[in-house]
């Protein structure tokens, strides 16, 4: 049995998902896995590289995690499981994590995997990974007393560290291939060499990526399928058609428009899965520009909160595939404060607040005008923006919806700050220190950095709470700190949190065991098999 963390803080984080009555083993027990076959999986959009050490776009994580592995894998409840590490433990002060590494693991080029690879990779993650820079900020050194032991030493505790070691988030790359030259331009970023169940075979840009079974995989007998083909299908309607014709077996992160789901799920061969996204945990929200002369008044923001019905967002905008989350830490997290309910949908109250703020209705006309931008990612946020327009019209706010492509949007909001308020989605990730703190921490007001503190929210008390929680090793105290944080930002309302969308995986029923962990399709797919 793997050595569990003495303080066992991860157990509590699993309660939320485990209590949902989900049994990850239900699939695994239905038959003995069958060997052979080709799995056709969607990759969308096409990733720029196949290694996720400096690229954290979803498709790169999906592609990388089959070839390059992490130290740990995770249960549905985010409890660590062995992958390249077979045992691990943390020192009582939380400043030292010792990993015992798997023996007799070879890279796909035949070189042995050792602790030097781990030390090299953690240091690389700390210097070039978009999140690793903050996740591993407290790492002072990674020592390697012997070839199968790696010790991560920290200057300050990092209670989220053990949740950040998945293959997608923190891949272990071969030192002998990455030590020389610039890792960003390493040719193996496009032709990865790892320890994982699949080997890279070919990549036809714009069409497909082909992986083949690694017969020397350390988990003998796995993987079950012979080859894994990622297909690039840029058009949403064409993806739906590909699922219908059987050209696609598997696709994650809402592979088809949600409006197509009812039709596709009618088909006997297709099934839908919503588990396996705990590492992303997206959140749909409205960010206010607190430098805006009208929106800097908290009464105006509260009026907007009262005028928008989160149930409409949940049922109509997200087609029911969402949980209402009035706080930035979603209900799936053990740090969620369930005592906070959404601002009641109450247009009379909203009008009263707007009157009090000094914006009366001007003889039948609107009180004032605002422009609303939305994140151009899928169509969820466009639909949400349309709803915001119609909902706010009822309380006398005239909203113009403005659309633009992704780089234009990011530049407008984060660099130029030419916005009033936005419909946006962020991934709150596996821990609030990594996924939520960046949105509210005043030290993360970083011009030009996407998904930083867009509202320019600055509250010394919130900063202190976030900073304490990020190094708090006592789980009960950490929960209390985050609950206090949620209560303050709920009241201050720099961001109106609406729903946590549930991502959907669409799969042909012959594909078994595709979602066996919290990593979902960002797992290594070693357990996947195709039933007859």
């Amino acid at each position: 049995m793997a050595g569990f963390n003495r303080r066992d803080f991860l157990v509590s984080s699993g309660v939320a998902l485990a209590s949902a009555g989900l049994s990850p083993l239900a699939y695994a027990q239905d038959a003995t896995p069958k060997r052979g076959g080709t799995l056709n999986m969607l990759i969308n959009p096409e990733p720029p590289v196949l290694v996720s050490i400096f690229q954290t776009t979803g498709p790169a994580l999906v592609a990388s995690s089959k070839v390059l592995e992490g130290l740990l894998a995770y249960d549905f409840d985010l409890k660590p499981k062995p992958q390249l590490a077979t045992a691990w433990n943390a020192s009582p002060d939380g400043l030292k994590y010792t990993f015992t590494l798997r023996q007799n693991v070879k890279w796909h080029d035949g070189e042995p995997f050792t602790s030097a690879d781990v030390a090299f990779s953690i240091e690389l993650l700390k210097s070039i990974h978009p999140r690793g820079r903050s996740t591993f900020a407290n790492v002072t050194r990674v020592s390697t007393p012997d070839a199968r032991t790696a010790i991560i030493e920290l200057s300050k505790p990092a209670p989220y560290l053990l949740k950040a070691l998945s293959a997608g988030e923190s891949p272990i790359v071969p030192k002998h291939l990455y030590a020389n030259g610039d890792p960003l331009t390493n040719p193996h970023n496009n032709a990865p060499i790892g320890t994982g169940p699949f080997r890279f075979k070919s990549w036809a840009r714009g069409a497909s990526i082909v992986y083949e079974r690694n017969p020397d995989y350390w988990d003998a007998g796995k993987p079950y399928i012979d080859s894994l083909v990622f297909k690039v299908i840029p058009d949403a309607a064409a993806r739906s058609a590909a699922f219908e014709t059987g050209a696609l077996d598997l696709g994650g992160e809402n592979p088809v428009p949600l409006s197509d789901l009812p039709r596709l799920t009618q088909l006997p061969q297709l099934a839908v899965e919503t588990r396996g996204y705990r590492f992303l945990e997206p959140l749909s929200e409205i960010d206010f520009n607190l430098d805006h002369p009208i929106l800097k008044d908290v009464r105006v923001r509260q009026a907007i909160a009262h005028a928008i019905n989160p149930q409409v967002v949940q049922k109509t905008i997200a087609y029911g595939y969402a949980d209402i989350s009035p706080t930035p830490i979603t209900p799936a997290s053990p740090y969620h404060d369930a005592k906070l309910a959404p601002y009641p949908f109450d247009t009379a109250n909203a009008e009263k607040l707007l009157d009090a703020a000094g914006y009366p209705r001007k003889n039948g006309g609107p009180r004032f005008q605002l422009t609303h931008d939305f994140l151009p990612y899928g169509d969820m946020y466009r639909r949400q923006a349309d709803y915001v327009k119609s909902a706010l019209a009822r309380v006398g706010i005239d909203v113009t919806v403005r659309s633009q492509d992704l780089p234009s949007f990011l530049k407008r909001v984060y660099a130029d700050r030419q916005f009033d308020f936005t419909s946006i989605g962020v991934n709150t990730l596996f821990d609030p220190s990594v996924g939520v703190q960046r949105l509210y921490w005043s030290k993360n007001i970083r011009p030009g950095v996407p998904f930083s503190n867009a509202p320019h929210y600055s509250n010394a008390q919130v900063d202190a709470l976030l900073e304490s929680a990020s190094i708090e090793t006592d789980e009960t105290k950490r929960v209390a700190l985050y609950q206090q944080f949620q209560q303050i930002v709920y009241r201050d309302l720099p961001i109106l949190n609406l729903v946590a969308p549930r991502m959907v995986t669409v799969a042909n029923r012959r594909v078994r065991n595709h979602t066996v962990s919290a990593q979902g399709l960002e797992g290594n797919l070693a357990d996947v098999y195709l039933s007859a």
Partner: protein
């Protein structure tokens, strides 16, 4: 003037017109692209869903985006002078290699589509002109109008639903069966099956134009004296239509095809997206969305070269069709 010197004159004229045109296109494109808000680092950071100021700075340094704009232009032109289209930092590959990997697909799709459009358009147009004002003309006119006004992506999606999803005759996308090691005729048949739907989709719009154009041009030629002479000689009406009328009516058609060659590249982006066809149009579209300027400049440069080559070909073709053109 004999034919060879005529052709040489056309080629010379085109060459000295093409060079400054291409240079102007490159410089104009460069500044147009620089006007777009956001850069490649923004996109990568946005797609990643998280970033730090340091990683953004590292990305910009890697892409050369931290340099002054004129410096970037100078670097690009200097690369170009050395025969290099630059390097795509996003794809971690030379731009030329990216483009060459997509070019055969695009040429195949465009060639097939243009060929289909030309044959179908000319046949339909000839039929319409021959029976002008009668019912075949009326029916085909309505059909041409329908094809002309229906958006290509919609035709493409409907074709997928009908031929791939319901009938299961043809694949719904891609350029070949992935992983199938086919050779000879099997490979040809596989590619043909994949190219058919996108080519037909791409062709529909142009079929309508060519049909209308052929019809109008033929009606005009029919009123000319030499046609009456041909009829008076007692030639078979079909022979008059094909040999005398159609050949003369092809002149405006060839001009249009030259122009459409450029349009097809643009129109191909939509069709390529619907049918997951790995061609240049999609590469360009992806490059716009990703602000991958070196790739986009390369595609635009190549497209402008293609259009120029197509125009030269049309000029030569017209010189051959009509000896009066010098």
């Amino acid at each position: 003037m004999n034919r060879r010197t005529r052709f040489a004159a056309i080629a010379r004229r085109t060459a000295w017109q093409a060079l400054p045109t291409v240079l102007a296109i490159v410089i104009l494109n460069f500044f147009l692209l620089k006007l777009m808000p956001g850069d490649a680092a923004d996109v990568l950071a946005g797609e990643a869903g998280s970033a730090t100021a340091e990683t953004l700075q590292a990305l910009r340094a890697k892409f050369g985006l931290d340099q002054p704009v004129l410096h970037q232009l100078g670097a690009y032109l200097s690369h170009l002078a050395h025969g290099s289209l630059g390097y795509s930092p996003r794809y971690d590959a030379p731009v030329l290699q990216l483009i060459l990997s997509r070019l055969p697909n695009t040429l195949l799709l465009m060639g097939t589509a243009l060929g289909l459009a030309l044959v179908a358009g000319v046949v339909l147009g000839a039929v319409m002109a021959h029976w002008a004002g009668k019912w075949p003309d009326r029916v085909l006119s309505v059909l041409a109008l329908l094809l002309y006004s229906t958006p290509g992506f919609w035709i493409g999606l409907l074709a997928i639903v009908l031929f791939s999803v319901h009938l299961g005759w043809l694949p719904s996308g891609g350029d070949a069966t992935i992983g199938a090691q086919l050779h000879g005729f099997a490979r040809f048949a596989d590619v043909a099956r994949h190219v058919l739907l996108p080519a037909v989709t791409l062709a529909t719009f142009f079929v309508a134009i060519y049909a209308r154009l052929t019809r109008a041009a033929m009606l005009e030629v029919q009123r000319q004296d030499f046609v009456r002479t041909a009829h008076a000689k007692g030639l078979h009406p079909l022979r008059v239509t094909v040999r005398h009328v159609l050949r003369n009516a092809l002149m405006p058609l060839t001009t249009m095809i030259g122009i459409h060659f450029g349009t097809l590249l643009g129109g191909a982006a939509v069709t390529e997206t619907v049918f997951s066809w790995p061609g240049l149009g999609r590469l360009a579209l992806d490059a716009v969305m990703a602000r991958d300027f070196s790739v986009l400049l390369g595609v635009l440069l190549l497209s402008s070269l293609l259009v120029i080559v197509a125009n030269v070909a049309v000029d030569l073709l017209q010189a051959w069709l009509d000896p009066r053109i010098a």
